[in-house]
């Protein structure tokens, strides 16, 4: 066996990583309000309870609106920044890029309180809109990281050829550059959507009365009788994200197979 003890250790580590997630469906289908062993019986009533919970539905709708808007806005802003940083040299570039990328190394609570202070100071009402402002701020650096590598691998001579053939800089961007960085744009949209959907602290501070899904889940933790319902909700979310991941992985592998590149292990 290759690896020996390392393999044993890694398998034990994987058990630790998966332990909570394996317990999730066990208690979601368990016929008891208390989360404890031994399990008392099979039931789908917690899933049925999800269908009859209007505040939950509002929270899901809010979260989806925020995540879709955030992914589009942050990817758009990231396209500008990634293009500017990979293609041009200009004064103040390091400082500006440093500021834009700062949320990567700033604890989220700091972003949340500073935005809250400004918005309340300006008298802005907290709503979905204010959450979007915060989420775009923290998602943009991730999008830039993804898009920069896409823009970096562009061959400059293709662009020059387009200019020589009489295209304007806008049509060159639309016809040549955009199609070439499209895989990067799609993964940037997916990543920022995922980050926004799962983000809690900024939404907790900036959502006001319009709770997002994580804020709603957090508020339910206070009620012991709500715990099995949250388990059921968690099970659905885990299944959804695994399905999404498998789809993304499938497309990544197909893309690799098409271009004939060697598989170096995704998500990196």
């Amino acid at each position: 066996m290759r690896g020996g003890w390392f393999k044993v250790y890694t398998l034990v580590y994987l058990v630790f990583l998966f332990a909570p997630i394996i317990l999730l469906p066990m208690f979601a289908f368990n016929d008891a309000t208390v989360i404890a062993f031994p399990l008392s019986g099979f039931s789908t009533k917690w899933f049925a309870a999800l269908a009859d919970d209007p505040p939950l539905h509002d929270a899901v709708r809010n979260s989806l609106i925020i995540a879709v808007t955030t992914s589009i806005l942050s990817t758009t802003l990231a396209v500008f920044a990634a293009r500017a940083s990979t293609r041009y040299r200009f004064p103040g570039k390091a400082g500006l890029m440093g500021l834009i990328m700062l949320p990567l190394v700033l604890p989220e609570i700091i972003v949340a309180v500073s935005l809250l202070a400004v918005l309340l100071g300006l008298g802005v009402n907290l709503s979905i809109l204010t959450v979007i402002l915060g989420h775009v701020l923290i998602c943009t650096p991730f999008c830039i990281a993804i898009l920069s590598s896409a823009f970096q691998s562009l061959d400059r001579s293709l662009e020059e050829a387009a200019y020589d053939l009489g295209e304007t800089s806008f049509s060159t961007f639309r016809l040549i550059i955009l199609p070439l960085v499209m895989p990067g744009i799609i993964s940037s949209l997916l990543i920022s959507f995922t980050i926004s959907l799962d983000e809690f602290i900024i939404a907790f501070f900036l959502a006001g009365t319009q709770a997002t899904l994580p804020v709603y889940i957090f508020s339910q933790f206070r009620f012991p009788q709500a715990v099995p319902v949250i388990m059921a909700l968690g099970t659905i979310l885990v299944c959804l994200s695994i399905v999404l991941l498998c789809i993304a992985e499938f497309f990544r592998r197909r893309g690799l197979a098409r271009s004939g590149a060697k598989d170096t292990g995704g998500f990196l």
């Binding site: 998966f18 404890a36 040299r89 834009i100 700033l106 809690f200």
Partner: protein, 296 residues
């Protein structure tokens, strides 16, 4: 049409084009990041009034934040918890990254990484809550052990304390530590290891003198990626920490949302940022020293 003409059409000077291109993103970051950060920096020197904020310059908030036992204890605890979580997470993660990079067949590496990252893609809030359920007084561990007759009453020391916070955070940030170390290990030229062993070093010495130094940038990246969000984490201490496990983020939230004391909350937030910056710079400095080696 000549190439020069095309180049001319590309725009005015390169600097102007670059600035124009970056301006939407830069303006967004200046308005919604730089300005708010500047504002809480200013707030931290003002005085809390009832209601509102009194515009008199003072260091009182910082003196309060650093001398009041209550706040100082929480800030020191946050630093200790973040450092412990970082050490535990990175040490536990290294062998996993090493195994996947050195002992797994290249065609199967992505499958292993896929397995490692799956838990990370599930809701952070629910993962933390599950640890609360697992470790709780009537939780999975206690009820399971009671049912098996191993213990006669629920264990108290596994829940609502700093240890539970460390365990939960080490679980939450595991993939963040594994991936950068894996990337650094993947970049190592395998022939260097063979050369080390050909020159008579044992496997262990080769690891210490070749693999580890070359993996160090990945380890430092993992340290920073785990340390920075951990020190500002709010959910985990709130859910599994109990009163003795509260961290600085809970303190900031308390000052802002519950007590409505923005100046003191800002002073604590700025102090936390300073701690993060100092520790991060220290790690980066260590990395530089380590890479340069002891001789030079």
């Amino acid at each position: 049409m000549t190439s020069e003409e095309g180049l001319r059409r590309m725009g005015r000077s390169e600097a102007a084009s670059g600035l124009a291109m970056i301006s939407p993103t830069a303006i967004y970051a200046i308005l919604l990041l730089a300005a708010p950060l500047a504002l809480i920096f200013i707030y931290s020197f003002l005085t809390d009034g009832d209601p509102g904020i009194i515009r008199t310059f003072t260091f009182a908030n910082y003196i309060e934040a650093w001398s009041n036992e209550l706040y100082r204890v929480v800030m020191l605890r946050s630093l200790m918890v973040a450092l412990t979580v970082t050490a535990v997470t990175v040490l536990l993660a290294f062998p996993v990254a090493y195994f996947v990079s050195f002992h797994v067949d290249p065609s199967r590496k992505s499958l292993w990484l896929f397995l490692i990252t799956i838990p990370f893609w599930t809701s952070y809030l629910i993962r933390v809550f599950l640890w609360k359920v697992i470790l709780g007084y009537n939780g999975v561990v206690n009820s399971g052990l009671l049912g098996l007759g191993i213990i006669s009453e629920p264990l108290q020391w596994i829940n609502y304390n700093v240890g539970a916070v460390v365990l939960t955070l080490a679980h939450a940030y595991a993939p963040f530590a594994i991936l950068p170390i894996f990337v650094a290990l993947e970049k190592i030229d395998r022939s260097l290891l063979e050369a080390g062993q050909d020159l008579g070093e044992s496997r262990f010495m080769t690891f210490l003198r070749v693999t580890l130094p070359l993996a160090m940038p990945g380890v430092i990246a993992a340290v920073l990626i785990v340390f920075i969000p951990t020190i500002g984490d709010f959910v985990t201490p709130q859910l599994v920490g109990g009163p003795e496990g509260r961290l600085v983020a809970n303190l900031i939230q308390l000052q802002y949302l519950k007590l409505d004391n923005y100046p003191l909350g800002s002073a604590i937030a700025v102090s936390a940022m300073m701690i993060v910056t100092v520790v991060s710079l220290f790690f980066l400095y260590l990395n530089r020293r380590y890479l340069r080696g002891p001789e030079s």
